[in-house]
Symmetry: C2
């Protein structure tokens, strides 16, 4: 097999851990696999460099930030390659440039445009272990770029796609994806397999492990992703396409998002295009709308409720205020003491009654549901924040996810 | 003027010092000059990375070492550029690659083959301050290389040559070149100007400031070098071609080299080619011979005395032993309690009596001269190490260098 293994900052957090990673890579190579390694900067290094830059400027120039921040991954890649060579392997460290990772010119948040895997392929053919500095590429001007938060995961997935690797293993300090947050429900179980779409819906469970950008890229490139821990040999969770999952569970997991606020607009004037007008302006202000409910009031006006991430309340309020001032909206109110609980599972596509069970479970616990939204594979409910944990545990139990 | 300024590790040793460098660069730019800056890694960084590598391997792979070590200069260059941008300048950080520095493929001790100054020239034309990461280039395979010890000075001199800069200022924690080591003779005076050749002969005075490789390159490229300190605005020492020095002093300085050992070979068989044989084998063992004296003894054999750097005694002894074993040499002895004192000055080319004064000064102090060698601009004497400081002070006084 050809396996891409990505080791995050905590996995390479100090010299002993880098040696530990070298040992793991060595095992994989000795088992007869071809391996391409992608590494992050040693944990704390990137933050240190950001602090250094901020010492000089509150808004440091972006091309310089990329030259600065890309150095951390180069250090880790060189050290791991040195360790592997010392162990008798033939390893070679590669920068993003050498690995053929070409990005657009958006410094500090570049997008990978394509990967030219020629040099990597030839090194693999020669039996070499490739160690790529993650998080970075090179743009058309020949300048180094970085890929933003979670960038090393993106490097790994893109490389796995370009090389048509059998597996792309993402090593972190978390052992995989669980049916729900084990800190809320200790009976939560690790999932063996999950589809890309489920993973995207369960983002709140996986956020510490995998960003949606990486899952989306894996889905697009059809890369089999595994998240697992570098601190033990415990099996992780495979994230793959739905067709690869034989036995589809009704429900895979329960996600909780406390980072949501509800905005209520009362007495919205009933003229054509007003809702479109409001939401277009919110979008232009980079406010991310999640759920929306619209009700006609008895006086002919409309009430609109929607949710936004908590840290975007102020931006949203600034937009709403202009409509209040113009008289298009008579009143607005904001509530950040809410949360969103979601039941996710590909199985619900072909089974009925999943939603009904969620609602009755809430009713049994006397939890009032404020808003509901559903998709093919998800039921989301907005409830008062104080019921968050109770709701998660009740739903986890109702769908027997501990079994 | 176009000025290349190079700041060494101690000058950029912490964030406040980097800001101090930014202030200096800003002054130069505001005075109406074009500036290209070359920076080293923050002091201690390169050593830290070397220690990291040695944690994994006593003999780390060289291409990886280059990728590892080149990161330190990139960090400094980015930070300085960020600081300059914040001060309202338009600065851009460049790696060795971006600056067009092409080297051979000898990782960790690469030689600069050529510089393509196109990108730098265009940036200067746009009024930008260029900040180049020193110590590094790129080889024909596109891999980063490093230039070995003193590499950032070489980068600066080579860039100054390629851009035909008016000046190349090397900033360190030392304020210039002195007539002799001020720790030995407190009356030592800083030299305003000195020729390349004098500087090369005075290496022991300048070693802390400038390596001979850089002076040789400056001579070859006809670059006006200035060594000065970044910690004050004190003028430094200009190292330039002899024709630029109007008033040529008889003697410019007194150099002392305690790092020399004398090897005496007694009863060397008098057959053709034996001396050549001995010195060829020493050279093959990378032993650097400095001075040689050969005397016929009354029994027809020859005595050969020569000096080598102290840390090469063992290598030299290994070679000599083979000749002793074969009977070509009857006895050998080693003395590392010697030193070499040199009187250097371009003026002695056209004046007689300079050497005579050196010998009589030694005689007045009852210092026995073991070996003598002279060149057009230098008189070197090997004496007992215990007289080293006395000899330096006496010669400094005899040539009135404190005046």
């Amino acid at each position: 097999m050809l396996i891409v293994q990505k080791f995050g900052g905590t996995s390479v957090g100090d010299l002993d851990r880098i040696q530990n990673v070298a040992n793991r890579v060595s095992e994989t190579k000795k088992a007869g696999h071809d391996v391409v390694i992608v590494v992050s900067a040693m944990s704390g290094e990137t933050n240190k460099l950001v602090r250094y830059a901020e010492h000089f400027s509150p808004n440091p120039s972006k091309a310089e930030m990329d030259m600065l921040l890309s150095s951390g991954e180069r250090v880790t890649a060189s050290l791991l390659s040195i360790a592997l060579n010392e162990m008798g392997h033939i390893a070679c460290a590669m920068t993003g440039r050498k690995a053929g990772i070409v990005t657009d010119t958006a410094h500090t948040k570049a997008r990978i445009e394509n990967i030219n895997p020629k040099i990597m392929k030839s090194a693999i053919k020669d039996g070499k272990i490739i160690v790529v500095a993650g998080f970075q590429g090179v743009n058309e001007n020949g300048d180094v770029t970085t890929l933003g938060r979670g960038g090393s995961d993106l490097s790994a997935v893109a490389i796995a796609g370009a090389l048509k690797a059998d597996l792309c293993e993402i090593y972190t300090d978390v052992s995989g994806i669980y049916t729900t947050d084990p800190r809320i429900e200790p009976k939560a179980k690790k999932l063996n397999k999950i589809s890309y779409d489920e993973m995207l819906e369960l983002a709140s469970l996986g956020a510490k492990v995998l960003q949606n950008r990486s899952v989306e890229l894996a889905k697009k490139l059809n890369v089999n992703l595994v998240t697992r821990t570098s601190f033990s040999h415990e099996e992780g969770t495979l994230i793959t396409k739905e067709e690869n999952i034989m036995e589809k569970p009704l429900v895979s997991g329960i996600a909780l998002d406390k980072n949501q606020a509800r905005i209520s607009l009362v007495g919205v004037k009933d003229r054509p295009g007003i809702a479109s007008d409001i939401f277009t302006k919110l979008s232009n202000s980079d406010v991310n709308i999640d759920m929306i409910i619209q009700n006609k009031a008895h006086d002919g006006t409309t009430n609109i409720d929607f949710t936004v991430p908590t840290n975007e309340i102020n931006d949203a309020k600034a937009v709403v205020d202009t409509f209040v001032e113009s008289g298009d909206i008579s009143a607005d109110s904001y509530n950040d003491k809410i949360c969103k609980v979601s039941v996710v599972g590909v199985g619900m596509k072909s089974h009925s009654g999943v939603a009904a069970r969620a609602f009755s479970t809430m009713a049994e616990e006397n939890i009032n549901i404020n808003m509901i939204s559903t998709s093919e594979i998800k039921i989301s409910m907005v409830i008062d924040e104080k019921y968050a944990e109770l709701a998660v545990r009740s739903l986890h139990n109702a769908y027997e996810l501990d079994k």
